[in-house]
Each structure stands twice: as structure tokens, then as C-alpha cells.
């Protein structure tokens, strides 16, 4: 009897332990599933609130340049244009510098120097956006206004991009600050992609008599190509959604101008400026519709970037 009772209690304990195990799995499952739910929630909220404006203006919403809350007229084009233009300018500056720096840190620099510099790049990535904006207002804007833009105008002024009045704030300044903010991303992810290239690839090239640069450029870079493109996409997604620093230097003018010196506007900036004080449901809905566009843009670009980065890191492993 005693032994049977003991074995029963042992089974009971085993059973409760198993149930505990199952409960633990379920609890973590719920929270992991919560992440899916949050993402679905984001889509639902954006969809729900943007429908009013999208229904009223239809496709015209994306082609109209007229943004006038007072007369309930909302056209998204100046913001879409400003967002794409500033991000394009940012990549134009950040890609060569960022990939160059990544090559230096991963391949060419002495290891000790490289690890210190990499740490500093990571710190740079941690600086909050609003602080970039604060500094830009008081340093970059006057510098662009008084030095860079006049110089560009006097040398390349025959091009339409470099004509017109100089304000200091505008597309170009926003592009520069975005470039500064995207470097750290491009650098650190490109660097990881380069480091994931197997050592044997470098050695094979060197053993054929290639110089360090030849081995890097001919062999390592093609190996890491996808990861580097992924890092650029990630930088692009970041630039598209970047809000504070851009809001502080773009000039906040909802119109499309050829000149890069002209003040403009971006999607994120107009949401930041107008959302809290939106004048009515239609205005709110138009702002949410803009954010929906921004969401879709960054999702597509991020999704592609993640796939590319996953592909390279798997190959390296």
C-alpha cells in the first residue's frame, strides 16, 4: 500500500510538473503572439483612421500638391516628394562614406584601432534624433546657409538644383543631417556583412598575389554584396521615417521646388507638427493616411533589407 501511494503521488507530481511546463510554454507563446498582434494592430489603426481621407480624396490624395487644413484640402505629394528627396540625398552622401568606413573597419584598419572606432560608431548610433536636430539648428543650418550652399551656387549654379534663394533650412540641409544619422547603421551592418565573409576567401586571393585592397575589392566585397545592399536599405528605411532632426531643419513648407536649397516638408515632419493640433477629423485622417504611406514604404524596404541581411549572415555561418 505504502509503495503504491508513493508511486501515485510521484505520478501526480510528474503530472503537475508537465502541466507547469505546458503552462510556461503557453505563457511565452502568448507574449510572442502578442508581437504579431501589435503589428496587426498598427495596420488596423492606420487603416481605420486613414479611410476617411482616402475615401474622400481617392487617388487624388497622392497627386495633389495642395495641403490646406483651413479649407479641408489635403494633398500628399509635397510630403512624399520631400521624404523621398531628402532620403535620396542622405543616401547619396552616406553610402560612399558609410561603406568606405565599413571597409576600413572590417578589412584594412589594424584590429586595435578598428575596435575602438567601431565602439565610437555604435555610440554615434545611440545619439537621440532630437539632439542631432538641436545641433543642426545652431551649427549645420548657419554653415549650410553661409558656406556650403553659396559655394555650390557659385560653382554649380547653372543646374536647377542649386538655384534660388538660400535659407539654410531646406532639402539639402535635411539630407545632410539624415546622412549623418544613417552612417552608423550602414557602417555597422556593412561591417558585419564583411566580417561574415569566410577567412579562406581572403587568404585565397592573397595567396594568388593580390594586394590587400585587391582581395577586399575583388573577393570580399562581392561575397558581402547582399549584406551591404541590405544595410543601405535599412539606412534608407531609417531616413524615410526619421522625424525630429528633419522637422527642425527642413523648413516646413508644403510645396515642391526644384532647388535643393528651398524649404520643404516630409511626411514625418508634418505629422510631428500638425497631429497634436489637427483641426478636424478630416485633417487627422489625412495625417494618418500619410503615416500609412510612410509605414508601407518603410515596411517594404525593411522587409527586403532583412531578407538580404539574413541571406548573407547565413552564408557566412
Amino acid at each position: 500500500m505504502a509503495s503504491s501511494a508513493k508511486s501515485t503521488s510521484f505520478t501526480a507530481v510528474r503530472k503537475s510538473v508537465q502541466m507547469g511546463d505546458e503552462a510556461a510554454r503557453l505563457v511565452t507563446l502568448v507574449f510572442a503572439g502578442g508581437i504579431l498582434l501589435i503589428t496587426l494592430l498598427v495596420v488596423a489603426v492606420l487603416w481605420d483612421h486613414s479611410s476617411l481621407a482616402l475615401y474622400k480624396f481617392g487617388f487624388h490624395f497622392f497627386t495633389s500638391q495642395n495641403w490646406d487644413p483651413n479649407s479641408d484640402e489635403f494633398g500628399a505629394l509635397p510630403f512624399v516628394y520631400g521624404t523621398l528627396m531628402t532620403s535620396f540625398l542622405a543616401l547619396l552622401i552616406a553610402v560612399p562614406l558609410g561603406v568606405g568606413a565599413a571597409i576600413f573597419l572590417a578589412e584594412l584598419a589594424p584590429p586595435k584601432i578598428s575596435s575602438i572606432l567601431t565602439f565610437l560608431v555604435e555610440l554615434l548610433a545611440a545619439v537621440p534624433s532630437v539632439i542631432y536636430g538641436l545641433l543642426a539648428i545652431f551649427t549645420l543650418v548657419p554653415f549650410m546657409r553661409d558656406t556650403v550652399e553659396p559655394a555650390l551656387q557659385s560653382t554649380l549654379g547653372f543646374l536647377p538644383f542649386f538655384q534660388g534663394q538660400i535659407f539654410g533650412v531646406g532639402y539639402l540641409t535635411a539630407g545632410v543631417i539624415l546622412a549623418i544619422m544613417t552612417f552608423p547603421f550602414i557602417i555597422s551592418i556593412s561591417r558585419e556583412a564583411l566580417l561574415a565573409v569566410p577567412r579562406e576567401q581572403r587568404e585565397a586571393a592573397l595567396a594568388l598575389g593580390a594586394t590587400q585592397w585587391e582581395s577586399t575589392f575583388d573577393i570580399v566585397l562581392p561575397n558581402a554584396r547582399l549584406g551591404i545592399i541590405g544595410s543601405i536599405f535599412l539606412g534608407l528605411a531609417r531616413a524615410l521615417g526619421e522625424t525630429m532632426a528633419v522637422t527642425m531643419v527642413i523648413g516646413n513648407d508644403p510645396s515642391i521646388k526644384a532647388s535643393l536649397f528651398a524649404p520643404g516638408y516630409t511626411i514625418a515632419a508634418v505629422i510631428a507638427n500638425e497631429f497634436a493640433e489637427a483641426s478636424g477629423n478630416l485633417h487627422l485622417s489625412a495625417l494618418v493616411a500619410l503615416s500609412f504611406v510612410l509605414f508601407l514604404l518603410t515596411m517594404v524596404i525593411n522587409g527586403a533589407a532583412r531578407l538580404m541581411i539574413m541571406a548573407t549572415s547565413r552564408k557566412g555561418a
Binding site: Q201, R202, E203, A204, L206, A207, L208, G209, D218
Partner: protein, 281 residues
């Protein structure tokens, strides 16, 4: 001249081994004047860890030299000092001399040195390029630009690596499409494409099946009239089959270096005997 007995046909060892004797008496000893490369008093360090101790070794021209020993004995490290590829690993340094044709490799331009001293690695490492571009890479960085010259070189190298017939119709296919054994022969062909005077092979067959291994060994025989070969192997039968001279490394020291038949039939050191008869490692 003794009658030639193919060492390929009787790979068993150690007692029944037949080694092809060298034609001239002077070349029979590893310390002849035909030394293509020579290491003298070589001490090698990874940071504070000493991996090689006082290595003195001569690599004879147009002979196959095998380096054997238990893992971690320093044989690969030694091989990798011969073309200075160890320099790419941080914290490495060495004292002593490595000579190529009597000239210290340290005093030579490193890219020129590596063109003269080619290398094949343990794991086949084709570049993510086409078969053609893999072979053409070495000649290209070394200044060959004409498309015609490159085509000739690629075909010649692939023929020497006995790979031409298998790949001639898919030169523009990615090298990754080849089988493991083919990839390794491609890497040998790639190394041969710059006409190296010395070819270093670091356990080139360790990931290959016996048939692929046999093909590579045949390949080594066929190129040794043009190239001096140094092969690191953990496979003693392979050393016995292919090598003219064999060096036995243990714990960073060169225990014994002699003609291969001597190492396997009549080693002078107890450690060598224990190792080649399988009593060690």
C-alpha cells in the same frame, strides 16, 4: 636505376612500401644543393604562444615534400610561413629565416612572393564567381589583360588540373556548382594559373572521398616536373604514396626529416616510429 614501381598501386605501409627512387644520388638526401626553399632557425609565435621551435628544413626543387604529424603540431603553421600568409593573422611573428632561391622572403615584395609560392587550402574555397573567372583571377591581378591570353591560361590550367574535360562546357557557370572534389581541383588549377614555382597544399584532401583524393594525388605527380610541391597531410598513406621527402612534426618541433622511404621504413627517431606505425596520435 632501379626498376620503377608505382607507389600509387601499392599504398599499403609501412613494411610493403615501394618508393620511387630518385634518379640522381645527390638528390636522394633532403639536404642537397637543389633547395628551392629553406627554413633556418625558424621560431614562430602566435602572441606569446610559441608554435614552432628552431625549424631547419630544406625543400628540394621539383620534389614533393610531405609534412606529417598530429594535429596542432605546427605543420600547417610552418607551411603558412612559406608564403607569409600567416601575416594576415593578428599577433603572429617569427624569428629566423625563410629563403626562396636563397633570398629571404621577408625582404621580398609580398604579392610577388605569393605569386611565386602558390597555396591550396584545406577547405576548397572557390570565389563566388564563374569557373572561368576563378582561374583568371590570379593572372588578372598579376597583369594579364588580353582576353585571348586569359582564355589560353584558363584552358592550360584546367588541363593541368585534369579538370578541363569536365568543365569545358560550363566555364561561365558559378564555381559553386561543382562537386567538392572538382572544387578542390579548381582551386589547384587557380593556384597553377599564375605559374607558381612552389605550390603549398594544406591538407587538400581532408574533406574529399578516396576517388577524389586519388585524382588530386595523380594531379600532383603530373605537375611536379614544373613545380616544387609541399603538402601538409594528416593521412600517412598519402604521404607515403606521393612524397619524395617527408618531415615529421610534433609539438612544434621538426622531429625528423628524410626521404619518405626512410621515414616510413627505417625512422631514426622513436617518436617518428611510434607515429608512423600508429602507436601515437
Amino acid at each position: 636505376m632501379q626498376p620503377k614501381v608505382s607507389s600509387m598501386s601499392s599504398p599499403s605501409f609501412p613494411t610493403k612500401m615501394h618508393i620511387e627512387p630518385h634518379s640522381s644520388g645527390a638528390a636522394n638526401t633532403p639536404t642537397s644543393k637543389e633547395a628551392k626553399m629553406r627554413a633556418a632557425n625558424l621560431n614562430f609565435f602566435y602572441g606569446s604562444f610559441q608554435a614552432l621551435y628552431d625549424i631547419d628544413l630544406e625543400i628540394q626543387a621539383n620534389r614533393i615534400t610531405a609534412l606529417i604529424g598530429p594535429s596542432g603540431c605546427g605543420k600547417s603553421t610552418f607551411l603558412r610561413t612559406l608564403n607569409r600568409i600567416n601575416e594576415t593573422i593578428r599577433g603572429t611573428r617569427y624569428t629566423g629565416e625563410v629563403l626562396l632561391d636563397g633570398v629571404d622572403v621577408k625582404s621580398q615584395d609580398v604579392t610577388a612572393l605569393r605569386r611565386r609560392v602558390g597555396m591550396v587550402f584545406q577547405k576548397s574555397n572557390p570565389f563566388p564567381k564563374t569557373i572561368f573567372d576563378n582561374i583568371a583571377y590570379g593572372p588578372k591581378v598579376n597583369g594579364m589583360t588580353s582576353k585571348q591570353d586569359l582564355e589560353v591560361t584558363v584552358e592550360k590550367s584546367l588541363r593541368r588540373a585534369a579538370l578541363w574535360e569536365e568543365v569545358k562546357d560550363k566555364l561561365q557557370k558559378p564555381a559553386s556548382a561543382l562537386s567538392g572534389g572538382q572544387q578542390q581541383r579548381l582551386c589547384i588549377a587557380r593556384a597553377m594559373a599564375v605559374d607558381p614555382e612552389v605550390l603549398l597544399l594544406d591538407e587538400p584532401c581532408s574533406a574529399l572521398d578516396p576517388i577524389a583524393t586519388l585524382k588530386i594525388e595523380e594531379l600532383l605527380f603530373s605537375i611536379k616536373d614544373q613545380t616544387t610541391i609541399v603538402i601538409v597531410t594528416h593521412n600517412m598513406q598519402q604521404a607515403a604514396r606521393v612524397a619524395d621527402n617527408t618531415g615529421f612534426f610534433m609539438l612544434g618541433k621538426l622531429v625528423e626529416f628524410d626521404r619518405t622511404e626512410m621515414i616510413f621504413r627505417n625512422p631514426s627517431k622513436k617518436e617518428t616510429e611510434d607515429y608512423v606505425t600508429g602507436r601515437f596520435g
